[in-house]
Symmetry: C2
């Protein structure tokens, strides 16, 4: 199908599913490295991967290395982000939501919003096209991670453990 054509009733475009598989593979790689299992991919308007990455808080001792920021960084300098899609395994936190808004990333595809509710509603209110896939694999990955490593998870979102 053409790149602009939508998959009926899902809001997904060609490339989005592949983008989510890449984001999930990045998240799983992060888990194997001992890190926070969140992954992301930045796609161009044709669904091609511009950058992919995962949370590197533990690996690089870098608290700013959230998955979306890592994918954005890997994509390098761009004159603009019109038409691009950020695909992420988890609802983006305020930091990464701010990234999407500031740089005018047009679309956001989110693996799941059940284990964390970040700024995806806010982005939709501000004109970003948001698609929530509700992928069970993404839910399971984060659920198990938060259960096993609650301190690391709460550190990653700047919250104290309840």
């Amino acid at each position: 199908m053409s790149k602009e054509e939508r998959i009926p009733e899902t809001g997904l475009r060609a490339g989005d599913r592949e983008g989510l598989e890449i984001a999930l593979a990045e998240a799983q790689a992060g888990l194997l490295e001992g890190g926070v299992p969140i992954g992301a991919a930045l796609l161009d308007s044709d669904g091609r991967v511009m950058g992919r990455g995962h949370n590197r808080r533990v690996q690089d001792q870098d608290p700013s290395a959230h998955a979306e920021t890592d994918a954005f960084r890997k994509a390098g300098r761009q004159p603009h982000y019109r038409g691009t899609t950020m695909v992420t395994t988890l609802s983006p936190c305020w930091y990464c939501s701010g990234l999407v808004r500031q740089f005018g990333i047009s679309r956001l595809v989110v693996g799941e919003t059940r284990t964390f509710h970040g700024g995806h509603d806010w982005l939709a209110e501000h004109g970003v096209e948001v698609v929530v896939v509700d992928d069970e694999r993404c839910v399971r990955l984060m659920t198990e991670f938060v259960e096993q490593y609650p301190e690391l998870w709460f550190e990653d979102i700047g919250e104290e453990r309840p």
Copy 2:
């Protein structure tokens, strides 16, 4: 004066002025490196510098390296950011405003908001204590930079040059 004591009628605390001098020195260093002249410092609740940095888009070819993110990264991993202050030479963009909100940074000291109006109002609405210094040196630095390098500036905020 004690660290908690305020300078009358300014909202500034001990350490804020020194923090702004550091942020401005970082911005000026960035300009000399051929980069975007925005600097920042993250201060702890006693006004001590946890991290300092500047925009490194050009220097590192890293579009995520805004000044606030650079200072935050340099501060390393922290269990929380309660009581900290982000000092920046310029109103933070949505990305860096999201950083402040997500990580619960308590205060924001901004050198100036005249050449760019980012998310400082939004942060104030969400409980961050915001102090705008309106420092003429910060205004002059950005005014001259935007005049001389408009394409770099608009790339840095993800906008097309008007």
